[in-house]
C-alpha cells in the first residue's frame, strides 16, 4: 500500500448525502479480477450517458475537477455494499481523500486498506469546504495526516481526529497482514483451546 502523509490537490464538490457504493461503482463493473483500471467507471451512471458520452454537468467531467484528488461530500458516504472496488475506483481516478461528516463502516475500513484517507468533519465545516471546492482552479486543499489538519485555500487550518493505529499504518504504508502474522503464536494457542472446547468447529469440512 502506498503511504499517505500529506496531499495537496484539487477538491471536487459533491453536495449529496448517502453517496452509495452503487453510485461510486455500479455492479456491472465488479466483474474484474484486478484492483486497477476502475477509474474510468467511477460514478459511471452519473458521469456518462447511455451511449458512453460524458454528461457535461457532472463535476468530474469539468475542469479542473478531472484532476481532483480530494472529494467533499455529505453524510453517510459509501453506504451500501462491501465492494472494495469503490475505493479502488476512487484511487484509480486519482482521488486519495474523501471529506464528509460521516462514512458507512465498511467503506471506511476499505479506504484505509488502500491508502485512501476518509476525513470526518462536522457538517458545517464540510459546507465550508464544499464552498472552497466550488472555487475551480482555486479549490486546492491540503490534507496533512502527519499533523492531522485540513488546510483550506485561505490558509485556515482545521484539525481532524483519526484512529492512531490506522494513522500509523497509513503514514508508513504498512500491510496489516504482515502485522497480524507477528501474532501467529497467539493464534495457534487460541485455536488449540477452541478446538478442545468446541471440536465441531474443526470437523465441518465440506
Amino acid at each position: 500500500m502506498k503511504a499517505f502523509t500529506t496531499l495537496t490537490g484539487i477538491a471536487a464538490p459533491m453536495p449529496m448525502a448517502n453517496v452509495d457504493t452503487d453510485k461510486i461503482i455500479p455492479g456491472r463493473f465488479l466483474k474484474t479480477i484486478q484492483r486497477t483500471g476502475l477509474g474510468k467507471h467511477l460514478f459511471a451512471n452519473m458521469r456518462y450517458e447511455d451511449d458512453g458520452a460524458e454528461k457535461p454537468d457532472f463535476v468530474l467531467n469539468q475542469e479542473p475537477y478531472r484532476k481532483a484528488e480530494i472529494l467533499v461530500a455529505y453524510e453517510n458516504f459509501g453506504c451500501g455494499s462491501s465492494r472494495e472496488h469503490a475505493p479502488w475506483a476512487l484511487l484509480d481516478f486519482g482521488i486519495r481523500c474523501v471529506i464528509a461528516p460521516d462514512f458507512a463502516d465498511i467503506f471506511h475500513n476499505n479506504s484505509f486498506k488502500n491508502g485512501v484517507l476518509p476525513v470526518k468533519l462536522p457538517r458545517e465545516i464540510c459546507e465550508q469546504l464544499m464552498e472552497d471546492a466550488r472555487l475551480g482552479p482555486n479549490s486546492r486543499i491540503t490534507v496533512d495526516l502527519e499533523r492531522q489538519v485540513v488546510v483550506r485555500p485561505n490558509g485556515e487550518e482545521i484539525p481532524f481526529t483519526i484512529d492512531p493505529f490506522r494513522r500509523h499504518l497509513l503514514l508508513n504504508g504498512l500491510d496489516d497482514i504482515g502485522q497480524t502474522m507477528q501474532h501467529a503464536p497467539s493464534i495457534d494457542g487460541f485455536e488449540a483451546k477452541q478446538r478442545a472446547a468446541q471440536p465441531w468447529l474443526y470437523d465441518a469440512a465440506l
Binding site: P15, M16, A17, N18, D20, D22, K23, P26, G27, R28, L30, K31, T32, I33, Q34, R35, N45, D50, Y74, E75, N76, C79, G80, S81, S82, R83, E84, P87, D102, A104, D105, I106, N109, N110, K113, N114, D163, P164, F165, D175, D176, I177, T180, M181, H183, A184, S186, I187, G189, F190, E191, Q198, P199, W200, L201, Y202, D203, A204, A205, L206
Partner: protein, 484 residues
C-alpha cells in the same frame, strides 16, 4: 468496527450477546485496544475474492484454514438453463474461472454451479449448517449480516480483509457499540419480517446503526421463524449497522439440528449448552435503544432510491415543495424525478413492469410458499414480467417437491435456477432503463437492478400481489379486491 472502551475478560458486568461472542473470539488485544479477532467461518464468492487470492499469491502466503472456508458462485451467474453451458459474458466467465482456479490452488472447499447445494452464499450457509450460533462469520459481502439470525456475529468485509482472513483466520477490529431494536407486540396479518425491517430502517435511517451491532429483540422478533429472522438481520446493513443479530433460542436450536454440517449427537448437546449462555444478560447496557410496536406496522414499500425512503403502502409520493430543509428537498426532488413519480400520487396507483422475488433477503422456501399461496389460481397481469428465483438448489428442490413451481408457472411466473439474479445488475437478469420493479431484494439505489431501473422494495407477499394486480396493492385488501 468503531471505537468504544476496551473490555476485559475478567469483567463480570452484564454482557450483551455481541459482547459474549466478541469476548470469546479475542485472540489478543493490542495496546491501543484493537483486537486480533478470530474468525470461525469464512464464506467467499467470485466477485470479492480474486484480488485477495492474488494478494496471497504475490506474498507467497497460504490459506490458514481451508476447512473453515467455503467458496461458492452466486453473483454473476445466469439463473436460466444457459448457465450450464459456457458463460457468455467474458468478464463473468473469467471471474468464475478465476475462483475455480483459486480454490484448487489454495485447497479451499468449493460448491460449483452443478452441485444442487449451490446458491446465494447467505442462503446456503445457514441451510447447510455451516453457520452456527456463537460463531464469528465473515464474507466479502455486506449482507453477511444475514447469518446473525442464528445468534452469530456475522459481518461483511472488503477484499483486503478477505485476504487478511484467508492468511491469518483473524481480523484486526475494534469492538462495535451495542444497539438494541425491540419490536413489541404481534405483527398484523399481511405483514412480514420484511415489513418489520423496512419500518425499522424508515424509523432510524440508513445511518441509524453506523458503528453499532444491532440486536433485534422483543415479542415480534421471537415469534419469527428463522427465515424471517434472516430477512431482518439481512437488512441491518441498510440501517448502517455492521451486523444484526437475534439471540439463539429453541427456534434456532431446532433449525440447526440435523443440518449437514451442524454438530451431531453429543457434540450437538454440548453446543446447545454453550449457545444457551449467549443471550444478553439481564441489565446489559446498550449504547442505543429503539422500540417499535409491531401492531402499528402496515405493509411497507420504498418509494425513493435509499432504503430509508419507505412508506406504508397506503401512503402517497412525497412532495418536495413541502420540505423545509433545502438539502432534503433537493434529495427528494432528485428521487421523485429518477423514480418517475408525481408528488401526491397514491403508491397503489404505480404500475409495475417487473416483479422480482429472490435475493439473500427473501428467497427461502418460506418466502416462495407465500408467493405461491397468493399466485394459486390467479394470473400474473399481462404486462408484467415476474420472476421467482430460489436462493439455492436445495430451496428449489424443496419447492418443487411441494409442487410450488407448478403453481407459479401456471400463474405466469418464471421459475429460475438459484443465484443473486436481479438484485444487483451484474448478471443477465436486469431491469431495462425506466422499468419499474416490485422487488423483494434489499437495495433500491439508482441503477442497482440495471441502469435507469426503478426499484421498489417490498415483501414477497406484496410482490406477488403486485404481479397479479399489475400495480402496487395493499396485500391486506388483495383477497377482497381480486376480481372486482
Amino acid at each position: 468496527m468503531s471505537a468504544t472502551k476496551p473490555r476485559t475478560l475478567s469483567d463480570s458486568s452484564p454482557r450483551t450477546l455481541f459482547d459474549k461472542i466478541w469476548d470469546a473470539h479475542v485472540v489478543e488485544t493490542l495496546p491501543d485496544g484493537t483486537a486480533v479477532l478470530y474468525i470461525d467461518k469464512h464464506l467467499t464468492h467470485e466477485v470479492t475474492s480474486p484480488q485477495a487470492f492474488e494478494g496471497l499469491r504475490l506474498a507467497g502466503r497460504k490459506v490458514r484454514r481451508p476447512d473453515a472456508t467455503l467458496a461458492v458462485v452466486d453473483h454473476n451467474i445466469a439463473t436460466d438453463a444457459s448457465r450450464y453451458g459456457t458463460i457468455e459474458d467474458p468478464e463473468s466467465r473469467t471471474q468464475v474461472e478465476t475462483l475455480e482456479a483459486n480454490v484448487k490452488a489454495f485447497g479451499v472447499p468449493y460448491i460449483p454451479l452443478t452441485d444442487k447445494r449451490q446458491g446465494i452464499v447467505h442462503v446456503i450457509g445457514p441451510e447447510l449448517g455451516l453457520s452456527l450460533p456463537g460463531m464469528t462469520i465473515v464474507c466479502g459481502d455486506s449482507h453477511t449480516s444475514t447469518h446473525g439470525a442464528l445468534g452469530a456475529l456475522a459481518f461483511g468485509i472488503g477484499t483486503s480483509e478477505v485476504e487478511h482472513v484467508l492468511a491469518t483466520q483473524t481480523l484486526l477490529q475494534k469492538p462495535a457499540k451495542n444497539m438494541r431494536v425491540t419490536v413489541d407486540g404481534k405483527l398484523p396479518a399481511g405483514c412480514t419480517a420484511k415489513d418489520i425491517v423496512l419500518a425499522i430502517i424508515g424509523k432510524i435511517g440508513t445511518a441509524g446503526g453506523t458503528g453499532h451491532v444491532i440486536e433485534f429483540a422483543g415479542e415480534a422478533i421471537r415469534a419469527l421463524d428463522m427465515a424471517g429472522r434472516m430477512t431482518v438481520c439481512n437488512m441491518s446493513i441498510e440501517a448502517g449497522a455492521r451486523a444484526g443479530m437475534v439471540a439463539p433460542d429453541q427456534t434456532t436450536f431446532d433449525y440447526v439440528k440435523g443440518r449437514p454440517f451442524a454438530p451431531k449427537g453429543e457434540a450437538y448437546d454440548r453446543a446447545v449448552a454453550w449457545w444457551k449462555t449467549l443471550p444478553s444478560d439481564e441489565g446489559a447496557v446498550f449504547d442505543k435503544e429503539v422500540r417499535l410496536d409491531a401492531a402499528e406496522i402496515i405493509p411497507q414499500m420504498t418509494w425513493g432510491t435509499s432504503p430509508e425512503d419507505v412508506l406504508p403502502v397506503t401512503g402517497v409520493v412525497p412532495n418536495p415543495a413541502e420540505i423545509a430543509d433545502e438539502a432534503r428537498r433537493a434529495q427528494v426532488q432528485r428521487m421523485v424525478e429518477y423514480m418517475g413519480l408525481t408528488p401526491g400520487q397514491k403508491l397503489t396507483d404505480l404500475k409495475v413492469d417487473v416483479v422480482f422475488v429472490g435475493s439473500c433477503t427473501n428467497s427461502r422456501i418460506e418466502d416462495i410458499r407465500v408467493v405461491a399461496d397468493i399466485a394459486k389460481g390467479r394470473k400474473v397481469a399481462p404486462h408484467v414480467r415476474a420472476l421467482v428465483v430460489p436462493g439455492s438448489g436445495l430451496v428449489k428442490e424443496a419447492a418443487e417437491a411441494e409442487g410450488l413451481d407448478k403453481v407459479l408457472l401456471e400463474a405466469g411466473f418464471e421459475w429460475r435456477e438459484a443465484g443473486c439474479s436481479m438484485c444487483l445488475g451484474m448478471n443477465p437478469d436486469k431491469l431495462k432503463p425506466g422499468q419499474r420493479s416490485a422487488s423483494t431484494s434489499n437495495r433500491n439505489f439508482e441503477g442497482r437492478q440495471g441502469p435507469g431501473g426503478r426499484t421498489h422494495l417490498v415483501s414477497p407477499a406484496m410482490a406477488a400481489a403486485a404481479a397479479i394486480a399489475g400495480h402496487f396493492v395493499d396485500v391486506r385488501d388483495f383477497a377482497k379486491q381480486e376480481g372486482v
